[in-house]
Each structure stands twice: as structure tokens, then as C-alpha cells.
């Protein structure tokens, strides 16, 4: 099967007054049509930046996509003209963002903002577009959708706004939905509803979903594959089962260790990863995780490991010592 999207060696830089921030450092992976991919990692690991780069939404300057390819439907998005790219945005790839409170324009009605996309990409007239917008709001579970079209974003609650954002993103039936931490700003109960909603819509509409989060618990439920990112690199990638059961990278182990488990005896301490991610202004020559790693050896300081096949199906890891770790971590 030809992949829906094939990312090759994507590098993104930000030129700031303090120097060059190496935000994304050679990220490569492919996504199949209809696949749900989880992208996890701490804040500032390049998750959002790499996603925004796919849509070419990085503010330039200061940001710049230094090199790489984003092959989507057999063409390189990075080589398209701005006007060609506009046809990709919203129609082929849609995106929902972290903060639904600020992601909708406060001076236009929710209906107007959905209708706008429908008129642009689907060529619908006002009446048909409103009709469709009401259907979409119903689809994402907003009661009384027809009346709510004329409401302004401030008349919606946080969860409802995120639903409206999802309706807007899905309005033109994209092949890929990028969800950039869409539940982070919401209450826990609402979070679960949004996750369920996206899973349901993914099954109904068959689009691929990239779910960016720092919450490993959420992606375990929904994703098929997971990219674990650190300091602008993918440091481990594989099917959900392998990532959880055959964890091979010390950073991923740390991430999983910092999750509370319901079957643990009460009083068990959560493990945290000591230290902070490296300064993206001055990345070390060796492994970026070196300073925080408990398995480190001399070689890790000098050479940065690249992704290589580990045990498991399509499981890759960027660590010199994954085999050693495999022997120690019980699977």
C-alpha cells in the first residue's frame, strides 16, 4: 500500500536573537491511509512544530523548514506554491489545536466559521453550506445545532468549542486530521468525550488521525502506532503494543514510569525522569538524552544513535544500548 504521507528527513529551525533553535532534527516516518498515529513527548520536543511544518503553518521568519520532504498523495507539500498549499489546507489535511478558547475567531459566529470553509473547498452556496454546517455540529454532538450556528464562540463552553473546531476540521472530509493536544485545555471528563468523538468519527469517515499529546494513557487507547519524540528527534517508534510491552528506549521507559497505574499498590512512588531536555540552541553531539539517561556509556556522549530495527513488528529505536535494556526490562 502506498503511504498517505511520507515524511523524509524533516528539519525545522528557528532563527532567534539568542541563536538557532534546532526544533526538528531529521524526522522521517510514513502514515497509512486511515491510520491513527500517536505522537508523544515532553513540551518543546518538536511535536507541534513538526505537525505545523506539514501544514506549512510555521511562522517564517523566525521559523524555517531547512530540509526534507513531506510527500502527501504523491507530491512534496514543501515544494507547492502558497496557492496550491491553500488547497491542501482544510481540504486534504485539517488541524485542530490545543486551546479551543482562543482557536475560534471571537467576532464571527461559529456557523460563519464552518460555512466559510465549506464555501471555500466544497463550493457550496450559503444555504447548502449552512445546512451542512448544522449536520456537522449534530455529528460532533452539539444539541440544537441549527440554532447554535448563530452563536458566537464565547457563548459555547470549552468542550463545545473543541467540538465545533472538530466539526470545522472535518467539514471538507480531509484525509488526515492533525490533532495538536486537543484535550489538554479541557476537563478530564470532557477530554474522554473528545477522544471518543474523534475515534468514532475516524471509524465513520475513515480518515487518518495524528494525535499529538504528552499523555501516553490517551494514545494507548486509540492509536495504532506511536512516535516518541525527544529534542526534535524520533527516538522510538512502533506499534502501541510494542511501545508499552517491549519498551526499548530509556526515555520511553521514563515516560511510562511517570504514569500512575491503577493496579499498583497504594503508596508506590511515581518515577520521574531527572533533569530537563537539552537546550535546543546547543544540542550535544552525542545522544540528546545522555545527560538524563541511567543506561549511558561513553559512546553515547560521542555519537548520536539513529533509528534502527528493534525486536517487534516495525519497531525502531534510537539507542546504542537497546539490546542491553531489552535484557533488563521484563517484557
Amino acid at each position: 500500500m502506498t503511504p498517505l504521507m511520507d515524511l523524509k528527513n524533516l528539519r525545522v529551525r528557528f532563527h532567534t536573537d539568542e541563536g538557532m533553535v534546532k526544533a526538528v532534527n531529521g524526522v522521517s516516518y510514513a502514515m497509512e491511509p486511515g491510520e491513527i498515529l500517536g505522537v508523544v513527548g515532553e513540551s518543546g520536543c518538536g511535536k507541534s512544530v513538526h505537525a505545523l511544518s506539514i501544514m506549512r503553518l510555521i511562522q517564517t521568519p523566525p521559523g524555517k523548514i531547512e530540509s526534507g520532504q513531506v510527500i502527501f498523495n504523491d507530491r512534496d507539500l514543501l515544494k507547492l506554491s502558497e496557492s496550491e498549499m491553500r488547497h491542501v489546507r482544510g481540504r486534504e489535511i485539517a488541524m485542530i489545536f490545543q486551546d479551543p478558547m482562543t482557536s475560534l475567531n471571537p467576532v464571527y459566529t461559529v456557523g460563519f466559521q464552518i460555512v466559510e470553509a465549506l464555501k471555500l473547498h466544497k463550493g457550496l452556496d450559503e444555504k447548502a453550506a449552512r445546512e451542512r454546517a448544522a449536520e456537522l455540529l449534530t455529528l460532533v454532538g452539539i444539541p440544537g445545532a441549527r440554532q447554535r450556528l448563530d452563536d458566537y464562540p464565547h457563548q459555547f463552553s470549552g468542550g463545545m468549542r473543541q467540538r465545533a473546531m472538530i466539526a470545522m476540521a472535518l467539514s471538507c472530509e480531509p484525509q488526515l486530521l492533525i490533532a495538536d493536544e486537543p484535550t489538554t485545555a479541557l476537563d478530564v471528563t470532557i477530554q474522554a468525550q473528545i477522544v471518543d468523538l474523534v475515534i468514532r468519527l475516524q471509524q465513520e469517515l475513515g480518515m487518518a488521525v495524528m494525535w499529538i499529546t504528552h499523555d501516553l494513557g490517551v494514545v494507548a487507547e486509540m492509536a495504532y502506532k506511536i512516535n516518541v519524540m525527544y529534542a526534535g528527534y524520533i527516538i522510538e517508534r512502533g506499534q502501541v503494543r510494542d511501545i508499552y510491552k517491549k519498551t526499548r528506549h530509556p526515555y520511553t521507559i521514563g515516560l511510562l514510569g511517570s504514569l500512575p497505574r491503577i493496579d499498583e499498590p497504594p503508596g508506590t512512588k511515581l518515577v520521574s525522569i531527572p533533569g530537563l531536555p537539552p537546550d535546543l540552541l546547543a544540542l550535544p553531539t552525542g545522544c540528546p538524552f545522555y545527560a538524563r539517561c541511567t543506561y549511558r556509556v561513553e559512546r553515547c556522549l560521542e555519537e548520536n544513535p539513529s533509528l534502527e530495527e528493534a525486536d517487534g513488528v516495525e519497531h525502531t529505536v534510537a539507542c546504542w544500548r537497546w539490546e542491553h535494556i531489552a535484557g533488563r526490562v521484563s517484557s
Partner: protein
């Protein structure tokens, strides 16, 4: 909304009473006497006393303590200020001291000239300032941004009278393209409908009249527009830059909208609130700035008239003219406040 407007209109009354008080008082703090200004320095004292008596200038300014001591309550309140207010309530602005004709009459004749000048200046300021601000914000740190922001810095810093004189020097004296002042050339007639010559000449399809009026108004209008234009451009730029950082702008771009649509539909309406506030304030200041501009360009509006009246100590004219400017200022601010509710659905009055 209607209730809000009504409430605002009522609250205007104390403001205006305050304005009359301040104008009245400050004017009389300026040394000089209208009677002396009328009759000359060497006039006989009894003549001056007679004139003062006629004009009521012999009365106390605010309240007459002596009358109160004598138990004359009517006399107690019979002061210059109370006389002025009681005439004002009857919409009588009094007569010019020198010309002996009603102030309201001259005001009615001269006011349209000022309105025309101020309106044209405001239109120039808005229709140049806002696009310049938007382009500067959209092409931030580019050459065009640098040039327009430099230009606007010069614009804000430039004294109106200097700019006006330079304009006259270049376009009227050296090049001879435009007249040095006035509102119409002698011999050109425009039938008055609204009192705004540009509008009237177009309404009556009087093209030579329109061209002549335009030639006369363009220099003072540009001189008067410079400062508000520069301020509006800078405000638009900074407000747009703020808004363009917002998440919903990213959402709009992610939808696939063209940059033009994102800027003008999604950013501008949000960026407009601070800009409209500035426009409101500028519109008021413009009326005041007209005093200088009208003097330089001999523009027959209320600005020059009030200026002459201040020199001649013609109190009723100064009071009438300033009060009108104050009313316009208050009116523009009300207009700005109401426009907020139309621009931002989160703002509700009542």
C-alpha cells in the same frame, strides 16, 4: 442599546455644563477687556464704563455677594455666568461684541466650512492610515514597513503650522499649482445645499466649482490629516501585529483561506477596536487642530473665527465656538462606544 444611548446622552449634560464653566473662566483669566479692545487704549473712562454696562461686564463673574448682603436674592444670582447659562438654555449664544450680530448666525455660516475640512482630513487619515498600517503589519520588518513607519514618525512629529507653510511655499508660491488660501476663487459660485462645497458642487453637477473647491481644500486637508493619519497607521500596525499572533488567525490559515482573507476578514475586525478608539479621539482633536490650519490657509471656518475672537476678547464667539467643538468631541466618543458593540459581539450595553 437604545437605553444605553439615552443614558449616555443624559450624562453628556453635566459634561457640557463643566465645559461652559471652564471656557467661561479661562477666557476671563486672559488679561484684557472687550470694552478696551473695542474702543482702543485711549478711550475715555466713562465711555468704557458705558460699554461695560451695556455688555453686562460690570456684573460679577459668578455670584454677587454684595446683593446677598443687601438681601437681594435676584441680584445675588445676576452674574455674567448665570446670564450666559440662562441664555444658553434658550439656545441663544449671544451677540458678537464687536460685530453686534448673533453668534449662532455666524456659526451656522462658518461651521460647514470647518466640517468639510475636518471630514475630508479624517477620510484621508483613515483611508491612507489604515491600509498603510495593515501592509506594514503584514510585511513586518520589510522595506515598505520601514519606510511607512519612518514616514509616520515624521508625520506625528511635524508641527501643522510648519507643514502648512511649506505646502503653501511649494505648491502655491514656487509651483503656482494651488491657491494660497480661502475656500473658493472669486467669481466661482456654488449653490449651497449642505454647505459642504465639494458635496454641493457634485450634487448640482458643477464641475468647475468642484475642481476649484478641491484645489482650495486639498492643502489644508492634508496638513490637518498628517498627524491623525500617522497615529492611525501606527495604531493599526501594532494592533494588527497583536491580533496576527492569535490562535484563531492560525486556525483561519489552516482552513486554507488566502492571506488576504485572513488579514482583512479575520484579523482586521479584531484589530479594529483600538483603532476606532483612536479615530474617535482624533476626530475630536481635528476640530481643535482646525484652528491652526484655518488660520494659515485663511479658511473661513470656525477655527479662524474663534482665533480672531480670542485676540479681540470677543467672549460670546469664543464660548459658542468652543462649546460646539466640545459637543462634537463628546458626540464622536459616543459614536465610538456604540461602534464597539457592532464590532465585538462580546460587548453588550444595557
Amino acid at each position: 442599546m437604545a437605553r444605553y444611548i439615552l443614558r449616555r446622552l443624559i450624562s453628556v449634560i453635566p459634561t457640557l455644563i463643566g465645559v461652559t464653566f471652564v471656557i467661561f473662566m479661562f477666557q476671563r483669566l486672559i488679561p484684557g477687556d472687550p470694552a478696551v479692545a473695542m474702543l482702543g487704549e485711549h478711550a475715555a473712562p466713562e465711555n468704557i464704563a458705558r460699554i461695560r454696562e451695556q455688555l453686562g461686564l460690570n456684573r460679577p463673574l459668578f455670584l454677587d455677594r454684595d446683593s446677598l448682603v443687601q438681601g437681594d436674592l435676584g441680584g445675588f444670582f445676576d452674574s455674567q455666568y448665570v446670564r450666559y447659562l440662562s441664555r444658553l438654555v434658550k439656545l441663544d449664544l449671544g451677540n458678537s461684541i464687536h460685530r453686534r450680530i448673533p453668534v449662532a448666525e455666524t456659526l451656522g455660516l462658518r461651521f460647514p466650512a470647518t466640517v468639510e475640512l475636518a471630514l475630508l482630513s479624517m477620510l484621508i487619515a483613515i483611508f491612507v492610515g489604515i491600509p498603510v498600517g495593515i501592509i506594514s503589519a503584514a510585511r513586518r520588518n520589510s522595506l515598505i514597513d520601514g519606510v511607512s513607519m519612518m514616514g509616520s514618525l515624521v508625520g506625528v512629529s511635524m508641527p501643522i503650522f510648519w507643514l502648512g507653510l511649506m505646502e503653501i511655499m511649494l505648491f502655491a508660491v514656487i509651483l503656482g499649482w494651488l491657491p494660497t488660501g480661502g475656500r473658493l476663487s472669486t467669481g466661482v459660485q456654488i449653490q449651497s445645499i449642505t454647505g459642504l462645497y465639494l458635496v454641493d458642487s457634485l450634487l448640482t453637477w458643477n464641475i468647475p466649482g468642484f475642481v476649484d473647491a478641491l484645489k482650495h481644500i486639498i492643502m489644508p486637508a492634508i496638513a490637518l490629516a498628517t498627524i491623525p493619519m500617522a497615529i492611525i497607521a501606527r495604531m493599526t500596525r501594532s494592533s494588527m501585529l497583536d491580533v496576527m499572533q492569535e490562535d484563531y488567525i492560525r486556525t483561519a490559515t489552516a482552513k486554507g483561506l488566502a492571506e488576504r482573507v485572513v488579514l482583512f476578514r479575520h484579523a482586521l475586525k479584531n484589530a479594529f477596536l483600538p483603532v476606532i478608539t483612536i479615530i474617535g479621539i482624533q476626530a475630536g482633536t481635528l476640530m481643535a487642530g482646525a484652528v491652526l490650519t484655518e488660520t494659515i490657509f485663511s479658511w473661513p471656518g470656525i477655527g479662524k473665527w474663534v482665533y480672531d475672537a480670542i485676540l479681540g476678547r470677543d467672549y460670546p464667539i469664543v464660548q459658542g465656538g468652543t462649546l460646539l467643538i466640545a459637543i462634537i468631541f463628546v458626540f464622536f466618543n459616543l459614536l465610538v462606544d456604540i461602534s464597539y458593540a457592532f464590532l465585538d459581539p462580546r460587548i453588550h450595553y444595557d
